[in-house]
């Protein structure tokens, strides 16, 4: 089970974990706790953990008002909503129309007030959950450490000298610090699961298309997904059940399964587990490999049939991603033009100068690197050799998965090559990109993947990654719940 962060703010109560989401909502409904009390506890914890800089902005007034309303509803006997009174935080690339700006942690959107809300936020609020505020991220979700935030790095709850992972680092840190019972993140190339593994929380990346992205700031549209960071796979399933399903405002959404609530965990005995060979090679730290094998042995002891499997094109997954993602980024970020909204330069005297200056000054280094890379791989003369080539190799990678999922129920391996690294350690862009080496295949294939807290290596948490075929989210969650019980 998940460990409690070693380095904690001194204020009492900080260490106390929230009960499971269903239980917490139940306590609020039966009057055992008030929503106001829960919201106040979250605010207190957030303030006590300010030094970690996981949160960009709290919506204190709105959250208090909503909590009071909910307590009144409960007093009147109205207790609808599976998340009634449960507070959460959202990564600051979800559009929210409260007091807080939606910034994507970029100067480009520093003053942007969203006129509408993301479907994910609307669904959670409709289920009774209370939006408490917005968490830090790498600018426009471009990064693996949250160091690319224009508003300062988030620190790892286990060691403030280290990164929380990224790009959903603020959400992961907030859940690890028990500020809120759950938080939302986005995962384009590992951005939920990597920080989950670095901070010792559960991180869930659903099947591509399962959760509406309406109102979420687009990064790479062919891999962007939304998912929860939680304390358990039960809670991940609980949140996913609220979020999943078709949305008329996002035509890429797919049909949902009946439920994502975990009832009985899956039977591990006889479960066919494939250990991804390419995720256990020399590029993965020795400590990480042996710690992961230990956990896999535990699955074997529980009766799982474990074998090594090969995904031959997994070794080039990161290269595929760093062509396709920048290409899509350069297209998606074209909308920030300094005219409709966002940062603009008042000194520009022509339309073109407005574009050049506003974008040059508003964006930070990493978005600029990615837009330029994307522009290069899409430019005439290079498109065939880079972009088209990457799309074809992506087909081969998807084929690899199809083959192994013919034989195995679930694939397993480490979530990341190492545990959390030090702030400032990875100055070279490619070295930073390689942190997501083991996460990215799932994004390219569009399959669900979960990072489960699997213990610690030298005092730092690490995650066990499980992957399942597209559309089998419920099955993956059931398996995760069983795995959680034995690792």
């Amino acid at each position: 089970m998940s460990a409690i962060p070693r380095t904690r703010p001194s204020r009492q109560g900080q260490q106390q974990q929230w009960p499971k989401l269903a239980e917490l909502a139940g306590q609020i409904k039966n009057g055992e706790r008030s929503a106001v009390e829960v919201v106040e506890a979250c605010i207190e914890r957030a303030e006590a953990a300010e030094d970690y800089h996981g949160i960009l902005k709290l919506e204190i007034t709105a959250a208090r008002e909503r909590a009071e309303q909910i307590d009144q509803l409960v007093a009147d006997g109205e207790t609808e909503g599976v998340l009634l009174g449960v507070p959460f935080l959202a990564k600051d690339n979800f559009l929210t129309n409260g007091q807080a700006e939606t910034t994507a942690a970029s100067h480009m959107l520093e003053t942007f007030t969203a006129p509408y809300q993301a479907t994910a936020i609307e669904k959670l609020e409709a289920a009774g959950a209370i939006m408490l505020g917005k968490t830090n991220l790498d600018e426009f979700a471009h990064g693996s450490s949250t160091e690319n935030s224009a508003f300062g790095s988030t620190k790892n709850p286990y060691d403030p000298q280290r990164v929380p992972g990224g790009s959903s680092g603020g959400s992961a840190a907030a859940v690890a610090l028990n500020i809120v019972p759950f938080a939302l993140g986005t995962d384009t190339g590992g951005s939920i699961r990597l920080p989950a593994s670095f901070c010792g929380t559960v991180g869930y990346k659903p099947t591509y298309g399962l959760v509406s992205r309406f109102g979420v700031i687009a990064m790479a549209s062919s891999t962007d997904v939304i998912g929860p960071l939680t304390r358990s796979s039960h809670d991940a399933g609980f949140v996913l059940d609220v979020l999943a399903g078709r949305d008329g405002r996002d035509s890429t959404t797919i049909a949902r399964e009946e439920t994502y609530h975990i009832g009985e965990p899956a039977e591990l005995s006889g479960l066919r587990v494939g250990v991804i060979k390419e995720h256990m090679g020399e590029h993965v730290g020795r400590g990480m490999r042996s710690a992961t094998w230990e956990k896999i042995k535990a699955l074997e002891r529980a009766g799982a049939r474990v074998e090594e499997v090969e995904l031959p094109h997994d070794s080039v997954a990161l290269a595929i991603y760093y062509i396709i993602a920048p290409a899509e980024i350069s297209s998606n970020l074209a909308r920030y033009d300094g005219i409709k909204y966002g940062y603009y330069t008042s000194s520009a005297d022509s339309l073109e100068e407005t574009y050049l200056q506003s974008r040059g000054e508003g964006f930070g280094d990493e978005p600029i690197r990615r837009m330029l890379t994307g522009t290069f791989v899409l430019s005439s003369g290079y498109q065939e050799a880079y972009y088209k080539k990457a799309q074809k190799v992506r087909t081969l990678l998807r084929g690899d998965y199809e083959t192994v999922f013919g034989t195995y129920d679930v694939l397993a391996g480490p979530m990341s090559p190492t545990t959390a690294f030090k702030l400032g350690e990875k100055g070279d862009p490619v070295a930073m990109y390689q942190s997501d080496d083991l996460a990215i295949s799932a994004n390219l294939a569009g399959i669900p993947s979960i990072s489960l807290p699997a213990g610690e290596i030298d005092g730092l948490p690490f995650g066990l990654q499980l992957q399942a075929p597209a559309g089998r989210d419920k099955r993956l969650l059931d398996i995760a719940a069983a795995v959680e019980g034995v690792i």
């Binding site: 035509s251 797919i254 094109h313 760093y322 520009a348 490619v430």
Partner: protein, 96 residues
């Protein structure tokens, strides 16, 4: 390997409408070269007769009824984020 010069960066910046100073272009050039060098490993993969993946859902032509859906956003709210407006329109600087 693909060589990227400062001029290439400035040119790409112009294509992407991102103003980049000489100095920054000097930093970005070797970084972009490093990224392109890294992704070049794909050239060794045989993709003869392989179809490109554009998307993974398999969804095609998602239709909806041709019905008017009333918007609950006010014009003022939508214009509030624009740096310059006039008479309810977004103002742009001269084009030519």
């Amino acid at each position: 390997m693909t060589r990227i010069s400062r001029d290439d960066i400035t040119k790409l910046g112009h294509l992407a409408r991102i103003g980049i100073s000489e100095e920054v272009a000097g930093t970005l050039a070797p970084q972009l070269e490093g990224i392109l060098d890294y992704v070049a490993q794909l050239q060794e993969v045989d993709t003869e007769a392989i179809e490109a993946t554009n998307q993974v859902t398999g969804l095609r032509d998602v239709w909806r009824e041709d019905e008017v859906i009333p918007s609950h956003y006010s014009r003022a709210e939508l214009l509030a984020n624009a740096p310059a407006t006039q008479d309810g329109y977004i103002q742009v600087r001269r084009v030519l």
